[in-house]
Every structure is written in structure tokens, then in C-alpha cells.
Assembly symmetry: D3
Homo-oligomer: 274 residues x 6
């Protein structure tokens, strides 16, 4: 590991979330300081941490939080399918605020938590690569494609690099048959973000985030320049999951499409939602 | 022409705009009634016309305006690069309201005025097709990619067809050297929208809107199922334009990229803007 | 036209059929003699014609009929979806007999009437080219893919050229809305077969057979070396057809897929069939 | 391994053959019962086995054998290049009977032993993927392409999944220099069939069957959703084979093409055959 | 036509050659002065012409000739397959001298007469586009690929635009059956060079030069940004050529490959050459 | 290892160079004799070695040196960016002499040290494959593309196989941050040349030469038929290099493009050069 961290200060949005709390620790070696941003409490701070409590919908607060940072790991915003107003405020407006902060304060690189749900309606057997057209599977996915597009603009026009990481399923362990292929272990998630932060050249890149599971329904080679090499696999979990879950119907949208059961959800503003 | 129009009632948003006012006439043969929507006055109404004056940012009004329509020609929203708040309200929120209207009132097909500015940072010599990744050249372009993505969702999940027409430069006549290749005549614009409204199968389609000009920097074949056959060309305008405008620098962004001078604009919220 | 016909004797199978009877006349300039093969009566013979009445399922007769020919235009076999035994005997076994005849008697070029139904389950908006994987829409289509594959072998291994012409809808005139894009006029059909017979190099080629209709759901450029330039269009028929036929549901398989209503047929050996 | 096998009863055709006899054992964990089908004797049956002795050319017997099965592993039919009548009866008609059985008795998934000989005339350096057009290298290969096409129809129209496994060279050990790249070990063959039987989504898939040998002349990524991960390699056999076999001529068809010496065979019905 | 020519002075190398002497006239409207370069006499000069007689192998003379020019139309060098020393001096070294002249004297755009023989060993049915790997069919073709590569460097590193025009067969009229597809009329040749000189953006482009002949064995769309629209066709010549020339063997290299009979030539330094 | 070496005599050009001196040892098992060619002294010869001291610019000497060889490993010529005259004599003319030697003396296979600098102006995130158009980053790179093209001709027309190995950075160990992805260890270099010499079928192949480093900016699958499997990685060197070298600017040409700092060099004949 280098004696001098790669970054001086990284802003981590969504720091109190499922992945954010893992990255808070995992990214420690990469920066002198990690500024943790969330609207939820962040618990005790380590010596290398500083807290910034605000809502991403607050433009001024968000822009202010980017000051003094040389990288942003943007994992904040809505964490799953939810109503339009939340998507609009947290994910669309909030992400715009983050990029305006980066632009105004000269942050050079952003790592963004995009999602499989940006391309959730592609079929597994289509074996899409990172350049495939978007096919979101919900409002959550639409917001991910919005930020992918916005960040493309901020690279082409304003020179801010972004790695959009389309995370598939990152949980403590795989929970169902779909996760046998979609799972990204927490450790591999940290490896992926680390690769995106340390790669010599990111420009505007889109990557898929999965562990080295046997079933590989997408082509990850287009992000090879990021240098992400997953180390984990779902193979140890297979027998257990297959023993306790029924065989899926291969024609069900939840099996057919990359987005899984998100593809079967109705509109989140219809009541009752799932 | 069929004795019975293809549609009962078409909602035309942006009906008072540059293109909207042409479509108002041009689409007359396709519906018994055209409901003209704009927040600006619409002038005298013809027998087949009805007016709906509201702001697309008004969700209830927008949804109400879609009632009773069996097609929407969505040309409303911001008409060029402008500040974030306008883009957000008119183009992002406004378009979401249009699609929610379509979903709630069972409208089956939408024709959307997307723009070259959704893919403005692709180079001419890249010869992209309709499936190329988006590369917006401004907030305006980002909003176009948002609607392209949103409409993809509304097709995949809710079964509403959309033809996204990436209109290049539709003006009374070509005004500069770039328009010698990017120009879409008003008549060809009407032909393009007509094709999208009458094609047997649209699903979710993306098309490029240019006349049959000699310089062809993009591949339009991917939208061949829409049946658009341009009839006009800029060739008659070439000598005049070349005589009165200087030779462009081939390395200037405005020449290099599909988006033209939009690629050279700064951020619209910086002052002073162009 | 050349003083000396391109061929000495062309064998035309299916000569009594809908297309065969047109080709019988249309190909006259290309050969001194056209040997007309069918199991049905052929009517009066012209000076340049000779008849060969047999069933393609008869291997010896079929092989004998190829003797003395320097080209075969193979339009015989089942003409639409039908039961397995007929497909097997007429189209699979019969075509094998034709190719064995070509091999044993040194015929150098075959023009084969393949069909859109070899790739009928591809969607219109997929815009497939001639190299797309086969997706037959019935047993008829499977037999077409069988001959496309068999003829590929006879080229690679035995040096017999074949142009597989995937004819879409060749009738006296377009009969429904689908034919507005799928129609191949009789004259264009003759042009297509003529091109395939006179092209300098065929090797093993696959081509699509449609007239120059506005709606173009497939990419025909891969067969550009055959030199087929359609001259007809369905545009004159559009208004009439649209006036007398209902608007199709864009989600119906018959509209969604290239194969049209063949995609909606059940198995031909189930009773009752359509 | 799951406590409950994935399938209740698997029909294994060609169960007495070279690969069938290995699969008979290797697939035991996947079903309560394996029904072994062949026209040759099958030896002693294990507790989980039941025998069905019949000829695939017998439609009624073949259909009857599929009754009560929820998966079919179809390795029966001609095992190498042979005369037309055998190919027709065993491989073409026989496979049609298998699929009719699946359709009539509701079998949901078929794993089919296709072959490199379906694409044997592609050159090594072409690096084809699973979507490349077929180029069979003999009648055997043509019959493989027939079943690949037929099974595509049975998926698109009748909803029966098939994984077509293009097995390259599966023998006890690699026997010549070509097998240094084309070899599929018996254990990897079992792994491949197991993957195809247990993958969450097969739809209609085509996969290549080779072990993890250093020389990789085809692109296997298109079948990544099946989850096949080969474990064996020919590297331990290399020195021995190179010591006892001459250096091949790189221009010989047997070296140039994927199909190897099949590409150099004449027509199997010419006498004498190789 | 613009009152002011597009260029001040165009250097035309190979001005005494078959195509050069046509371009000398055809390009007159595009520049105040055309500097005609050749080592052969140029005949009487028109008012807009000036002569520069030198050998391209002479570095100093070549560089001097580029002074004061704002475009170069480089049609000089060997005109067909010939011995290595001539290729080396005239085409390789000579072209390097031309580009060094452009670099030293600030010439911004070069139009280069490349040739089908740069990609002559591609088969017609491969339907290559402008990005296909080179496959030269002789030393002449190798020299064309050298200049295509050299000019790519001079664009990427030194900012000099080049349009490489792969001219197929440009003669007074088509002379054999191959030219029925490969022919580029003199008028279309002038149109092609004119397009390359006037296109708004050339960067480094490769184009194919053929008239609008029915047989189209290559995909020209990748050069659509140059705006070349051929107006001529070989169709009027077809009957005459077919009447007086024999039917070609479709397997002969001269028919199979784009390069025609160049593919059948031996090495030009072996004696006797064709 | 086979008892009998694969070759009788290999000619190794550039045998005194950085890589040549490693190959001299590493290729020993592959031939009875290795003929070492260089214009520099070669030191003591081993029992299996013979020396040939000459300049590649000497046609007769070069051709003579190929006599009696059955393979050529051509690593001679300029080793980095240098002036035109050296590139012309050593790399262009010299390589032509090597191929003429191969042609005249019946050498069947050549392994050529091409370079990343043949495609140096492609961006990392373009993820090019081996078929991408050339984009040389200097005269050195242009000479590499010349030999790649020349060797294509000698395969297509004269049947001499060549594997063009685009070596990235082969040094004793990685020396800077770029080499963390571009590095090819000496052992992997020997493996790569060995694979190219022993592959059953080379035809004309282009391969990329890098070790198994985490960052993979190009797609190597197109050379899978050569059987090169790198065994080394730069991972052990990462921490040290990152500790002692500054973070690169991702927009600098040296970071953006595959060719690294070659892309930032001026013309080598301008003084002073770097």
C-alpha cells in the first residue's frame, strides 16, 4: 500500500447505508480523510472521518459538502424502488447537486453507485455489454440512467471523471436463487470502488458489479481498464439456497430479466405497492 | 388517405411552438380531433382542434389533458439549452406527468420530440446508429435522455409505445453550414411524425430526424420499421450558405460533434450565458 | 440483353406454383431452355420449355431431372405451413434430392426460395441482417433453415453456389397491412431471381426479398453483391388497405414479429388447424 | 447438494453411447429417476434407473418414452458422419419425435448434444461466438443444425427450453493435436450438462463444449448464463501428443477449420467412404 | 457555387496521370490556383494552373511544392502493381515526403488516392465496411495501406486531415465484368474528391470509391459524413459487356476477392511478370 | 516437452537486443539450431546457436540469412521511436527483406515483434480488439503497421504464416504506473513467442502481448487460437510504483491512450527530440 494515500479527502454520500457503512471502512486506506455524508446519524467517527449531515435535496448543503474533496463516492439517494417524489428529490435532484458541487469545487473524480436496475429489462441470454442501451425496470432504474447520462455530460463538457458502477446485489450473503449469479460480496464491492478510485484513467466508464460467480449473464470486459478483479463467488452458498428455495419458472420476468423481481413490480405510486 | 382517421384524438403538447404549430396542421388528417396543449395562447382553433392551456409542471392538469386521447405527440417542454430549474420543471417533471397521464388514461402510443442533443457529443465520423450510448451536450440533452429512458420503462413495464424522434435542426430553412447536414425540413418533420403515428409496430423506437441531405453522419437504418422516407434536401441551399459563411475549423467542437455549438456552451446557470 | 443466354438449361422446380408460373416467363431470357418441374400439370409449353413431372420425394426422379442443367431455381416443396409428413417429404427430403442431383450432375448454381419464415420470430425492431441466427416460426420455416444449412454444406464442401432468397410476401398485390412492408411484387421477384442467377459471385448467400417499401424492418445490405435493386413499392396500395382493414395491435405476435400470423399458428398436426 | 433432486425423472437418450454411459452416472444427483433410452442394451440398472429400449425413428415409442419426464437429455441419434438414410431416421426424424414428445407431455427443458460439426467450416481464427451462422461440415452437422433450428421453434412457439451444447471432442483423453484445443473431458461434459439442467434460465441457448484448454478458437461468453466452468485442461497431455504425432500443415482443412478432418470427408453415400 | 473558391491553392500530385488529368479540370472551381505536380510533362497550362515538375522521391522538391498550398490532392506515385524499388521510392518515400511537406508548411487537408487494392483480399460477400482490417493484394496495395496508416498518424499527432479514397476502377468506361460493380466514373471520381475537399469535417476518413452500380459488395455508410453521392451507374454498359465477355468462374480469386485479378498476380519482382 | 524439437532452425533477428537476448535462451527447446542475427556482437555462442552478423538494410545478406530456416522470429529493426531514415532502412526495408527471404527460401512461419505503438492512439476505454483499425503513435508505430500489412499479403498471396505480436512493455520489471497495465514480463514474452511458434494454425494473426495484469484495456480474445496464457502479473509491483510516482492526470495523452508517452512525442526529425 502506498505510504501516501491516493486522495486527500473523499466525500462518501449515503455513508449510513448498507453499502456506505462498508465503504466507510473499506476506503479508509485511500484518503487522509473521509467525509461521511448522510441525513441519518453516522455513529462514532474514526480519526480519519468527518461527518456532514444533510439532505441531498438541499442544493446548497450538498454543494458545500463537496468543498475540499478530491473525490466523491456517491452512494446516496433512494436505495430501491420507491415513489416518484422521493426518486425526484433524492436521486435526480440530489445527484444533480452532487455534480454541481463537483463542478464548482473542482472535484476530479466521482464513483457512482448505479445499479443493475438501469438495464433491468435486458434478458440474461442477451449477454449485454456495458454499452447496451438502458432498459430501466422502475423509477429507481430511471434515476440511475439519469445520473449515468448527467455524468457523461459532466465528463464530456466539464472534465469530471465518473465511474458508474452498476451494482447487482450487494448484501451480507446471497439470499435467493437469483443472487447466485447477481451477488456482489461486500469485499468485492470495496474492491470495485477501490479500483474505480485508483484506475489511471476512468473518463466516463460504466461497469458491472458482480462477484466471480459461475453464471455470468453479462459481458464485463468493457470495463477492464478499471482493473476490478472479483475474488469471491457464490458457489459455497449454492447448495443451501437450492435446498430451501423452489425451482424458478424460467419464463417469469423475475427470472428472465437482469432486474429480477423489480421487473414484476407495478408503479410505486399505485396503492398498495408491494 | 383512409376515410376514417387513424386516431380519434391526438394530444399535441408544445402546440404553440415552432414545430408544434406546423404539426398542428400537418397531423390533421390523422385524427378526428387534435387537442392542442401549451401554456402560451394558441390563436384561432380550427374545427378539428381543441385547446388545453396549462403548464406541464402541473401534474394534475397534464394528466387531465391526456384523458380521452389515443395518442400523444409530445413536443412540449424546454426548446433549447436553458437553466436547470426550467429543464427540471418543463422537461423532466413535465414529461413524467405526460407519461403518467398516458398510463392512467390508457393512451397507447406516444411520439416524443427527442433531439440530436441527446447524443450531441458523438463525433460525426463515429457514424453512430440509434443504439449508441447517449452523450448529451447540455442539460437540455440530459432531459431528452431522461425521457428516452422513462419511455423505455413505460413500454417494457406498462405497454405504452413510444417513438423517440431525435430531431436534428428543424427550421424554415438551413441557416448555417452545419444545417447543410443536420437540417430537417418542416415537411419532412411532419412526415416523420406521421410515420411514427402510423407505423404498425413502434414498441420503443429511437429514430434520427434529418432530411435526405448528402452528408449523412449517422446511420438511420435502425428505425427503418417506422417507414420514414425524407423527401427534401439541403442541396438547393448549399451554394448560398457557403457563399455567405466562412469555412469552419474541422477541429472545433461545433464542427466535430453532432451537437454543434451546443457542445461549446458552458453551464446554463453560470452567468452570463450565451 | 446478351445475345447468348447466360445458361443453357435451367431447372425450375415448383414451376406450376404461384411464383413458379411467373418465373417460368420471367427467366426466359436467361436460358436456352427452361425445364419445368412439378407434380402438377404445367399447361402448354413454350418453345423454350420442357416439362418434367415428378414428386420431389422421389429421389431418382429428382436427380434425373437435374441432368443436363447448369442452374437450378428451386421453388418446389411445401408452399406454406403444413403437417410434418409433407414438410419432411417435399421440403426436407425433396431438397436433399435436388442438391444430390446438383452434386452428381455438376450443376454449379442453385437459387433457392427460402422464406421470411426462416427468421419469422425476430421482431421488426431488431432490424436483423442476413447473418442473424435463424428463428423459424413453424415447420415450414424449419424446413427452410434446413435447406439453408444443407446448401451451405454443398458450397463449403462441394463447391455448388446457392443464393437463398428469403421471400417475404409475393402475391399479385399486397393484401393486408403487414404486406405494406413485407410485399415483394412479382416483377421484383423476377428481378431478384435474375440477379441471383447473373451475379458474378454468389458463393453461399442469403438475401431478403422485399420490394422498395417505405417500412424496412430488416437490413438487406449483406446481400448487396447480388445486385438486386427492387423497383416496386406498396405505397400506391397503402390508402386502400388502411381504409378497409382495422388498426393492428402492436403487441400481437402477428404484428411484432417478421413472420406475421405464422407466429400465431399452433402445431400443424394438431387438429383442427387454422 | 440439494436434499431434493432438481428433477423427478430425466429421459436420457443415447444412454448406451460413449457420452450417454458417462452421463448416466454423472447426472444421477439431479433426478430421482433417470430413464435410459437406447436401442442397444443398457446393462444392469441402478436403483435410480429405468430402461426404455426403442429406436428414435419410431415416433410412437419415442413420444411414449417422454411421458412422465420433466427433462430430456437428448444425446441419441447418429454419433458421427454417416449415410443420409441413417441421418434422416435417427437424427432428423428421431429428434423431431423427441420434441413432439416434449410438447405433448409437457417436458419443460431439453439439453441437446449438438456438435462442433454444426459450425465446422468456420476457421479457427474467425473466433466465432455462439451466434455465428451455421456452417456444417457434413450431413451429421446438417442434422445438428436442424435440431438447433427445430428447438428454437419449440421454444419460441411452445415454450420448451433447450440448451444446445456444441460438444467438440469428448473422449477418454485427447487423441491427436487437434484435440489439444477441442477436447472436452468426460468430467467437464458432465459439468456442462449439469449446468444446462440447473441454470435458472435457459430459453434457447447455444453453448460450446470444450475444457479449459490453452488454445481457445471460439468465444464462449455468449453462454455465460448457463454457468458452465470447465475444470480440466489438455496441458498434461500436450508433450505426449506432440512427441508422437507429426506437425500439421496449417493450411490443411483439418487444421484450418473447427470441424477438423470432417471437413475433408467426401459425401458419406459415395463409396468407399473413409 | 460560392463566389469565393474554398481553397486558395491546391497541390495536385500525379496531375499528368489518368485520373489526375481529369481532376485538373474537375477541381478548378474549388481553388484560385491548382498547382499541378508530376514528373511527366503537363501540357499547356490554364490560367488557374501552375506546374511543378519533380519526382516524389526527391524529398526537398516535394516539400517545396507544398509551400503556399492549403490542400493537397495526392494522386501521385505508382499507378499499379510494380516492382519493390518503384513502390518504395514513388509511393512509400514519396508519400512520406508529401506529408512532411504538409506538416512543415501547414497544409490542413489532404485527399489521398488510396485503392481497393488496400483491401483486395477481402471477399465480395464479406461486405466489409471502411473499418475492416487491411488485406492488400500486392506491393501496390501495401503502399496504399502504408499511406493510410501514415496519414492516420499525421491526423492524430499533427492535426492534418486526410480523406483516403479507396478508388475501385476509374476508367473511361467499364471494361470487363468485374467493373460492372467496381467502376467509378470519371465524373463520380471528381464528385468524390470534391466532397472530400468540401466536407465540413474529415478528420481521418476512409471511403470507398464506386459509382451507384447495382452490385454493391462493400458497405459505404461509414464515410457518409463526406457527402459523396454517386450519380452514375454501369447499368447502361451491362448488356454489352456480358455479350462480349465469358461468364466468370465464381471461385477464381479474380472473381472472389475485391481486388480482382491483382489477387492472381505473382510477386512483381519475379520474372516474367504479367 | 517433445523429444524432437518443433523446428530444425529458427532465425532470430534482433538477437542482441533486450528481448532478443531473452528469446535466444527461451526458445532453445523449440529448435535444433537457433541462428542469431544482429548487427551487434552476440557474445559467446551456445552449442545450439549460430551467428549471422549483418544489417537488415542489406537485402542480399538478409535473404541469405533465412536460408535453411523453417521459422523466423523477427525482433530486429528499430527498437523505439527514431528518425525516418532509420525507420525506413531498418524496419521497413529490413522487414521487406526478411519476408523476401522467407518467400524465396520457403520459410513457413514468421513471428513478428509488432508493438502497442501500432495502435497507440486508441484510448484505453475503447477496449479495442485485435481487428481494430491501426492508429500508430509515431514513425516507429507506422513501421509496425507496415509489416503487419506486408505480412498479411505474404499470407494471403504466398502462404507464409505470421503472428504479429503487439508487445506492450517488456522490461525486467514495470517501471512506471502505465506499465502496471502494459507490462509483459520476459517470461510471458517467451511464452507468447513459444505459443505463436507452436500453435497448430496461425494464418495471419494479430495478438496483444501483456501479462495477466488487473487492468485490461484491450480485448485479447481474438488471438485465443494461439494459446498464449500469461502467468505473471504486475500486482506485486503496484505498491512500490504507486509510492514513488505521482498520480497521473487522466486527461494527459500519455494516460489516455494505449501508446502512453509516445503519443506526446513530436516528430523525431525535429530537433531537439526528447
Amino acid at each position: 500500500m502506498p505510504a501516501t494515500p491516493r486522495y486527500d479527502r473523499i466525500l462518501l454520500t449515503g455513508a449510513a447505508g448498507r453499502l456506505g457503512s462498508r465503504l466507510r471502512q473499506g476506503l479508509a486506506p485511500l484518503a487522509r480523510t473521509i467525509r461521511l455524508a448522510d441525513r441519518e446519524p453516522l455513529g462514532d467517527l474514526a480519526a480519519n472521518e468527518e461527518a456532514a449531515i444533510f439532505d441531498l435535496a438541499d442544493m446548497d448543503a450538498t454543494i458545500a459538502a463537496t468543498k475540499g474533496c478530491d473525490a466523491i463516492v456517491h452512494f446516496g439517494g433512494a436505495a430501491m424502488e420507491t415513489g416518484w417524489q422521493t426518486i425526484l428529490d433524492s436521486s435526480i435532484r440530489g445527484s444533480y447537486h452532487v455534480y454541481e458541487g463537483a463542478r464548482k469545487h473542482g472535484v476530479r473524480r466521482v464513483v457512482y453507485a448505479s445499479s443493475v436496475h438501469a438495464i433491468g429489462f435486458h434478458a440474461l441470454e442477451a449477454h449485454i455489454g456495458v454499452d447496451a442501451p438502458v432498459r430501466p425496470d422502475g423509477l429507481y432504474g430511471v434515476s440511475k440512467t439519469f445520473v449515468e447520462s448527467l455524468s457523461r455530460l459532466y465528463w464530456d463538457k466539464f472534465g469530471i471523471e465518473t465511474a458508474c458502477l452498476r451494482i447487482f446485489s450487494s448484501f451480507p450473503e446471497p439470499a435467493d436463487r437469483r443472487m447466485l449469479w447477481s451477488y456482489l460480496s461486500f469485499d468485492d464491492c470495496v474492491r470495485l470502488v477501490t479500483a474505480a478510485l485508483t484506475a489511471p484513467r476512468v473518463g466516463h466508464s460504466i461497469a458491472f458489479g458482480m462477484s466471480d460467480n459461475p453464471v455470468k449473464p453479462v459481458d464485463t470486459s468493457g470495463a477492464g481498464h478499471l482493473g476490478f478483479v472479483p475474488q469471491d463467488s457464490t458457489e459455497p452458498f449454492r447448495a443451501g439456497i437450492e435446498a430451501r428455495t423452489p425451482v424458478p419458472d424460467p419464463k417469469a420476468p423475475a427470472v428472465r430479466y437482469l432486474g429480477g423481481w423489480f421487473c414484476e413490480l407495478g408503479h410505486p405510486d399505485d396503492e398498495p405497492t408491494r
